[in-house]
Symmetry: C2
Subunit: 140 residues, 2 copies
DNA sequence: GTTAAACTTAACGTAAACGTCAGAACATTT
DNA sequence: AAATGTTCTGACGTTTACGTTAAGTTTAAC
């Protein structure tokens, strides 16, 4: 109906169930994240509507969780992606935190690489033993 | 006193407080891990003594935790590093699990690389804004 | 216009991973 | 032998991150 459909993708908002399907989480989880100030859905009356900003934040939240960060640790960093509407002083703090987080993530990446290598070695040893014990190679 | 000191480093056992200092965890944590069958300290009377095997396991536990794995997930994989004393059938299972875990760790490493890159970009944007707002560059 | 579907708040429950005592046993120092 | 230090086994408490009803409200369908 709108002749001027202004960037439908950018402006699109999602209901809570749509968000659930998008990110494979429960409604409770989304409400919980809002209560912890990780998401800021707008309201249409009483109902929540999730914006592009929320979708971006959710992606980061899911990522952070996979890497073993707590929700609180994630929340602190999220401000880095919405810094437009904050005071200079707070942006500076978030920036500093971002630098630290970057360091620890690079460290984690290194360690992960080593752990992967170790695991490979261990798997080979394990495989050798199984073969020696007469296991059928095709089973592995 | 022992003329033949048989590899003191390998055979060395640690009291619980020594282990606490070694790995920067509480005694409760070590006992908890034992109750969950992640560690198997030997006993001298009532007291626990942690062996080289326990030290190795602890290292893997700490690593696993940093990567965001649960204690149960870690426990299952730990058997991979002590497979000598298990039945072939169980070793096969652990081996299969190890392969899967390896996959997800490599996946995680990839994602971590991307996340690091994104974070760097975002930090740069943030820095630009701060400079534009007249922040002293040396503060950053 | 009412019934059903989707959504809401509020409150209690739960699993994981420990923290924090209490009370007793054992070991060591003095 | 008495005091001190270390360790032990419960057992209850706590935080994080949600799950799970319950009971009411709003929106969409018929």
């Amino acid at each position: 109906m709108n002749v001027i459909s202004t960037k439908s993708k950018e402006d699109k908002v999602n209901t809570i169930t749509e968000m659930c399907k998008l990110f494979q989480v429960s409604a409770r989880t989304l409400r919980f994240y809002e209560s912890k100030e990780l998401l800021f859905p707008i309201r249409k009356g009483q109902h929540r509507l999730f914006t592009k900003s929320d979708r971006g934040r959710m992606k980061l939240i899911m990522q952070g969780k996979r890497f073993g960060f707590s929700l609180e640790e994630i929340r602190q960093l999220l401000n880095l992606y919405n810094f437009g509407d904050h005071r200079t002083r707070q942006i500076k703090q978030t920036y500093q935190l971002g630098l630290k987080r970057l360091c620890s993530m690079e460290q984690q990446r290194k360690e992960l690489g080593i752990a992967i290598k170790d695991l490979k070695t261990q798997l080979q040893l394990c495989k050798d033993l199984l073969v020696k014990r007469g296991a059928d190679s095709k089973d592995l």
